[in-house]
């Protein structure tokens, strides 16, 4: 086992000296970069049993890669991949691709790693960091060069140049920003959009409450204690275009309805309910998720995103969690044909809170 160890003090070696081995030249090169290879030692004896075993291992890994990659191609081309309902073979398509690709890459990776870690000689080299290598002289030269450049421009002697350049450039910066800002900016209060929902009466016509499939709702459709998500009965009412409008229509039980009505009147919302029915915005006043988990027994509405809880019988006021504002209530009644309609739009802003909301 040949171990090269360092010997200190390096005078430059003539690299054309024919007596030098290749390694001598390598080490000389390293030295010229201030690197001392202080320890260099083959890990396996050439021709030894250990070397043959390692070579076989690495070769086996590379061959495994070839095999797995071929398997990947075979699966990719011939395995039935088109989706079918049920437990078809197509459900194995992606797992098989992943398995074969993974094995191919891991085989390659571990093959290379074994080659590098076990078969290549171990070495310890030391390189100087040359920190703070920049001399004070150099710093001074560069500094003076830059100062001289400033002098050449003569901004100090001709201040008008500098000032006029700055004055000239300032609007150019604004010109660069203008199209971006101007193009993107959009007034949030256009058409009073933050305060208006799909339930806003159109041409004096009150808006019906409809189901997800667009059918209007009669009081008898909801049993006591039940609730249903309703939408404004307008075009695209049941779509994300009216993301603020989804509303929860709840049929309260007699006692709860009584309490609810009392509390309604306390906050000046008398007449918002129709019979034992109350409608509250489904859009959480905290972060805008649909507050959709209704607990019948306690009349609590829970938002699954951040667990704000609203007490329906008390004007849907928040009683737990991060929400700070009650869910807006939609005033409802029943029209001549016996379907639910909104008496008017919501009387407060629907959805998450914002600065100028009150």
């Amino acid at each position: 086992m040949s171990t090269h160890t360092a010997h200190p003090g390096h005078e430059q070696v003539d690299v054309n000296d024919p007596r030098l081995s290749q390694f001598d030249i390598v080490r000389e090169g390293a030295r010229r970069d201030d690197i001392e290879i202080v320890h260099y030692e083959p890990q396996v004896m050439p021709g030894s049993k250990a070397e043959r075993r390692l070579v076989r291992t690495v070769a086996a890994m590379f061959l495994l890669t070839g095999l797995a990659a071929t398997a990947f191609l075979v699966v990719y081309i011939w395995w039935p991949w088109e989706y079918e309902m049920g437990r078809g073979g197509d459900k194995l398509y992606t797992p098989l691709l992943g398995l074969t690709l993974g094995i191919a890459l891991l085989g390659l990776g571990f093959g290379i790693l074994t080659w590098g870690k076990k078969l290549l000689p171990k070495e310890v080299s030391i390189q100087d960091r040359h920190e703070g290598a920049v001399s004070a002289d150099d710093q001074r030269i560069t500094g003076q060069t830059m100062a001289y450049m400033a002098d050449e421009l003569g901004v100090k002697r001709r201040p008008l140049l500098g000032v006029s350049l700055l004055v000239g450039l300032a609007p150019v910066g604004a010109v660069a920003a203008a199209p971006l800002v101007g193009g993107l900016i959009s007034n949030p209060h256009k058409n009073n959009q933050m305060m208006v929902t799909g339930f806003s009466p159109q041409d004096g016509q009150k808006i019906r409450l409809v189901r997800e499939d667009g059918r209007p709702i009669r009081p008898a459709d909801i049993s006591a204690g039940g609730q249903i998500t309703v939408f404004p009965g307008i075009e695209h009412g049941v779509s994300n275009l009216h993301a603020d409008s989804p509303t929860l229509l709840i049929h309260l039980r007699e006692a709860d309805a009584e309490e609810s009505r009392r509390n309604n009147e306390r906050v000046g919302h008398g007449g918002y309910m129709w019979g034992n029915y109350a409608a509250y915005s489904k859009i959480c006043t905290h972060a805008g998720c649909p507050a959709s988990l209704y607990e019948q027994q306690t009349n609590r509405l829970l938002c699954p995103c951040h667990q704000s809880q609203f007490l329906i019988t008390d004007n849907a006021k928040p009683i737990f969690g991060p929400a700070s504002r009650r869910l807006p209530q939609l005033p409802i009644e029943v029209d001549a044909e016996g379907y639910f309609v909104a008496k008017s739009d919501y009387t407060e802003a629907v959805g998450p809170d914002f600065w100028e909301r009150p």
């Binding site: 191919a104 310890v124 914002f354 600065w355």
Partner: protein
């Protein structure tokens, strides 16, 4: 003209000369080939992030060939029968097509998602390594700042990408993001309206997110990563202390061939693991969530893991609304604090930490040697405090699932989180500080008295004492100086009989891997153990 004979053997030399005559690369290339890198497993964590980023680029480009970033409503008519006939956005429909109608599209999608999760995870773990070992100190503050920014830019990349499929889950996330923008005082409604071009969700947000996700943010990431790596290269990597290692040198391997080969192999391994995960582990099955509809959500809606801490902070925030009685009155919603102010503080803290620490310690020197976490108890304790804070928030991000699975009251979970967030970080600080001091003390003890052997000897006068195996041969009480590196704590082979159980259980300490003394190269394992016994040889 006579045809000259082609000399194969002279080819490389001739080509080399020809290239060098034109580009003069021989000297810089030699410098590059020879550059020395220190080696330790903990230096590879950042590489995992780099390699996952490469996989992200590769799989991401594939996905753009098939994804349609539009919110136009279409009726789905693809292979996935349960959703046929459903109205949905073109973005969601094309995501379904990638999953079901593009051959090999699903594995690409899943590899993309997994590598994104791995990218963020590797960044966090790498950042912890850099923090706990003090690698961010002068002269590397710039790289620490770039690394911190990389986390937040990666966060944005993840969030915009997560939103693109426009499925039920990501749409809810987007809804919350719009509420967060809306909560900013004074400008909130203008910001939201400008980003969404009107009220949420509008019809343009997906295409805006798309260009941010495939061009602007990756461009920024590539730029930051390039500077990050360039600085590592220029400033040379830090190293652990050890024999022969000083602040002024780098002890390790030359970059070529061994170090580079190991890097190449490691890339393949990371790539392979991502391929396995992408194929075998389902991630983000958007077809189960359905298209985004503003009125539909299910319990257990969790974002990707790196967003969960913000979800958690939002859940813990009490309902403190600030009302400003001017004119019609203005409000600052409670949502503002945990989602805008808190991340802002976290960004600032991480960016300025290196400078704050240097100021506190009045230490303005350059440091190229790493510190063991135990040797800087206050920093390690601060780090553990931060981790505790982060973990509580992340767990709270799933507190509804925890409450459901373990049959705990949801409100109790929230209160536990609120109290825990205030109480546990200081406790973590105190405990970590004490543990660090204890470990330090034990190191000094072993250096002074030797390794505990577990052998009890009875003295002639009847007392029992434990036999210590001295590390130093310089007399019974010769104390060794602490060198900032691992102190052997278990008996070596000389001091004990063979291990009682063979296998994974080691009562006998294996030699520490990092310090290789130039004067005493590690040759055979056995010899290394003898060195520990004789003690002196561990000093260079």
């Amino acid at each position: 003209m006579k045809r000259r004979k082609f000399d194969m053997a002279a080819m490389p030399a001739k080509t080399g000369r020809a290239v060098d005559e034109r580009f003069q690369v021989a000297t810089p290339l030699r410098r590059l080939l020879n550059k020395v890198f220190p080696d330790h497993w903990s230096f590879l964590l950042g590489e995992i992030a780099l390699f996952s980023f490469i996989v992200l680029l590769l799989t991401g480009v594939f996905l753009t060939f098939f994804f349609e970033p539009a919110m136009t409503e279409v009726i789905y008519n693809g292979s996935y029968a349960p959703l046929r006939g459903t109205p949905m956005s073109a973005a969601y429909a094309s995501t379904l097509d990638i999953s079901f109608d593009v051959r090999g599209g699903l594995i690409m999608r899943q590899m993309h998602h997994w590598s994104a999760l791995l990218f963020m995870a590797a960044i966090v773990v790498h950042m912890l390594r850099v923090f706990f070992t003090g690698a961010f100190r002068k002269p590397r503050e710039t790289n620490w700042i770039i690394g911190s920014l990389l986390f937040w830019v990666g966060f944005l990349a993840g969030f915009t990408g997560y939103s693109l499929p426009d499925d039920g889950l990501s749409g809810t996330g987007l809804r919350i993001a719009s509420a967060i923008m809306l909560s900013i005082p004074v400008i909130g409604s203008w910001v939201t309206s400008s980003v969404f071009n009107g009220e949420f969700p509008g019809t343009i947000i997906i295409s805006r997110f798309f260009i941010a996700h495939v061009l602007l943010i990756p461009g920024l990431l590539v730029a930051l990563i390039s500077v990050h790596l360039g600085l590592v290269f220029k400033q040379k990597h830090t190293q652990w202390p050890g024999p022969g290692r000083t602040n002024g040198n780098v002890v390790g391997e030359r970059m070529f061939p061994r170090y580079a080969i190991k890097q190449g192999g490691f890339f393949m391994v990371v790539f392979g693991v991502i391929a396995l995960m992408g194929g075998l582990f389902q991630i983000n099955p958007v077809w189960l969530f359905g298209p985004y509809e503003a009125w539909v959500v299910s319990a257990a809606s969790q974002p990707d893991w790196y967003v969960m801490f913000l979800d958690g902070s939002t859940r813990l925030m009490p309902d403190w609304e600030i009302f400003i009685p001017i004119g019609d009155g203005y409000v600052i919603p409670p949502l503002f604090w945990p989602t805008v102010v808190l991340p802002g503080i976290l960004v600032m803290l991480s960016l300025f930490y290196p400078f704050m620490e240097a100021r506190y310690l009045k230490d303005y020197r350059s440091h190229n040697l790493l510190q063991r976490p135990r040797d800087v108890p206050f920093r390690t304790a601060l780090g553990m405090m931060a981790i505790t804070f982060y973990v509580i928030l992340t767990l709270t991000g799933a507190n509804d699932v925890i409450a459901d699975k373990f049959h705990i009251s949801l409100n109790a979970m929230t209160w536990a989180g609120r109290i825990g967030l205030l109480v546990l970080p200081p406790v973590a600080y105190y405990l970590t500080y004490r543990i660090c001091l204890g470990l330090q003390q034990h190191d000094r003890e072993v250096l002074a008295h030797g390794v505990e052997t577990g052998i009890i000897r009875r003295l002639p006068d009847g007392r029992f004492v434990e036999v210590h195996q001295p590390l130093s041969s310089g007399g019974e009480h010769g104390e060794l100086p602490y060198a900032g590196w691992v102190v052997p704590k278990k008996m070596n082979r000389l001091g004990a009989l063979g291990p009682a159980i063979r296998g994974f259980f080691y009562p006998i300490e294996k030699p520490a891997e990092a310090p290789v003394s130039p004067g005493h190269p590690p040759v055979e394992p056995r010899a290394e153990r003898e060195e520990i016994g004789s003690g002196d040889s561990r000093r260079s």
